[in-house]
């Protein structure tokens, strides 16, 4: 697969896998309104993923559909960052994971609008409308969680301590990112990282939350090397198409 299409998959897979995790959380929310908001974000993300996967299939020209790319690739062919595949441990984990990803999406799609690839630029403009709302929601939740009760602050601090090590993979440039940036197709991840850090500092300050001292960062997802979580996600997600390969749903 050519580099540009792998770049497409990096963008699509973050949205697809996070949407899956949010889907798993349906009926587990702390109250009904929040349960529905969560599903709403899941729907936006699967919509973003679907449009990119469909286009990837078209441009690849091998007859694969968006569904084929979602349901018939193996773990090593998924190029999402490790953060989005982390489990729904509790509401604090769900929301910290969401906040980190929403902030990334907001600044990433803002930059992507400048892409010289017409499709990616359009994806940037279209997605920006949705992720602007996502970021507002998760930012407000971070403040409620951090600057509310001591129990919530402690749970959120624990989630941040656990997930921080997966938070910078978004900005660790791999060979595809570099090639796409140089071609004017991809974004400059340093710009995205700088904006992201500023947003995190601002919201953490308002939330009375801290950035962990241990800044060791994991990566691998964008190159197809994942945590153990992804295998289980795909085992469920791809169950029917794998078991009944001839069926059309």
């Amino acid at each position: 697969m050519e580099s540009k299409l792998k770049y497409y998959l990096q963008v699509a897979d973050n949205a697809l896998i996070l949407s899956h995790r949010l889907g798993e959380y349906s009926s587990h929310g702390p109250f009904l309104e929040e349960d529905l908001a969560n599903t709403n974000v899941a729907l936006d993300l699967i919509g973003i993923a679907e449009s990119i996967l469909d286009e990837t299939g078209r441009q690849e020209g091998l007859g694969r559909t968006g569904d084929d790319l979602a349901y018939r690739r193996n773990e090593t062919e998924f190029l999402n960052c490790l953060l989005v595949e982390q489990p729904n441990t509790d509401f604090a984990f769900v929301m910290v994971r969401q906040f980190f990803t929403d902030a990334f999406h907001f600044y990433f799609f803002s930059e992507l609008t400048k892409s010289n690839d017409a499709f990616l630029s359009a994806v940037g403009y279209k997605s920006l409308k949705e992720v602007t709302y996502h970021l507002r929601r998760s930012s407000e939740w971070m403040i409620r969680l951090g600057d509310g009760t001591p129990e919530a602050n402690a749970k959120t601090t624990h989630a941040i301590q656990t997930l921080w090590k997966f938070s910078h993979e978004f900005f660790i440039e791999n060979a595809i990112d570099l090639e796409m940036k140089n071609a004017g197709i991809g974004v400059d991840l340093k710009v995205v990282e700088s904006n992201w850090m500023q947003k995190i500092r601002e919201i953490f300050y308002m939330s009375k939350l801290s950035i962990p001292e241990n800044n060791y960062q994991y990566s691998g997802g964008k190159n197809g090397v994942h945590t153990e979580n992804l295998g289980y996600i795909l085992a469920e997600m791809q169950y029917l198409p794998s078991k009944y390969p001839d069926a059309v749903w």
Partner: protein
């Protein structure tokens, strides 16, 4: 007593006059206590049904077999939760808080539709729920758009619009599966076999055995009888099944005249066992709701405590 009794009679007469003239009863209007209690029970049960109903379908979100079907399922479950919200709001106009309704549910004092105590065992069950369970619900809810309590009637108008979409998406899943491989056809028939009778039971006991019906009919909370609505559903649904090659699992089904069917005996022993709590998933559904609610307590507390709400 002598001074109160005539006033009550006058109030009741004015109330019934409104009912007879098809004027909606609104939250601030005087209403008999039995009317209020009936509505509190019925609307909260309806709200709980929408919310508990998110679970059997939610069981397949992570295994929905295509991006399109996953999107539709997510949106549908979101709609059901939204219906729960409208209905809790309508029920709250009767003077009981949502917290209280949820507490009654958890204490076993409030019920939800028994149909959601059955499991979803294959993907076609998602289709069967949309087609049959939502189909049965609409049959009932269309008549409830004319119910006498204003907030409930208005909630029903919105809900019916979405439920008819759900019914069609459910039927589309079944239709696609019947057009598909032999394994898919077997899944679809299996789902129909398991959901047909619980769907018929959704309309409740026969009119002769329905304890709440008579007063509810008089005060136009309920507009059509259980048996009338059940027959309407059956007559509508059997041709849909036949069109795509599915067979309704009723060996005693009779065609009475064109488009009019008579169903075989419903297993009311099973119905009452499920109502009593002995269905395959009663415990699982309620415990799931209690667990999520308990696990969310600290989130609700911090949301109330946070300065960001000021």
């Amino acid at each position: 007593m002598n001074t109160i009794a005539p006033a009550m009679e006058e109030l009741l007469a004015a109330f019934e006059e409104k009912i007879n003239a098809e004027v909606k009863i609104e939250p601030k209007d005087w209403m008999p206590e039995e009317y209020r209690q009936h509505l509190i029970r019925q609307i909260s049960q309806h709200a709980h049904s929408e919310v508990i109903g998110m679970q059997p379908e939610g069981n397949w979100i992570s295994r929905a077999p295509s991006l399109r079907s996953k999107k539709i399922l997510l949106a549908k479950i979101q709609d059901e939760g939204g219906h729960g919200l409208y209905l809790y709001s309508a029920a709250e106009t009767l003077g009981v808080s949502r917290e209280q309704f949820i507490a009654w549910l958890h204490e076993g004092k409030a019920k939800y539709s028994s149909v959601f105590n059955y499991p979803t065992l294959n993907w076609a069950d998602v289709g069967a729920i949309g087609w049959l369970v939502d189909g049965a619900a609409i049959t009932n809810q269309v008549s409830l758009q004319r119910t006498s309590y204003g907030p409930y009637a208005r909630a029903m108008v919105r809900i019916c619009k979405e439920e008819s979409f759900h019914q069609r998406q459910g039927y589309e899943i079944m239709w696609r599966m019947m057009e598909g491989t032999k394994a898919q056809q077997q899944m679809a028939q299996d789902a129909l076999n398991r959901w047909w009778w619980p769907a018929l039971m959704m309309f409740g006991p026969h009119d002769s055995d329905s304890p709440h019906s008579s007063l509810a009919m008089k005060w136009k909370i309920k507009r059509e009888s259980n048996d009338y609505l059940r027959d309407k559903f059956i007559n509508k649904t059997i041709p849909q099944a036949e069109l795509i090659g599915l067979k309704v699992p009723d060996p005693n089904l009779q065609l009475i005249s064109e488009g009019i069917y008579k169903h075989g005996d419903i297993n009311w022993d099973e119905f009452w066992e499920v109502v009593k709590g002995n269905g395959p998933c009663n415990q699982q559904r309620l415990e799931h709701h209690i667990k999520a609610h308990k696990e969310g307590a600290w989130v609700r507390a911090t949301a109330l405590a946070s300065k960001s709400n000021n």
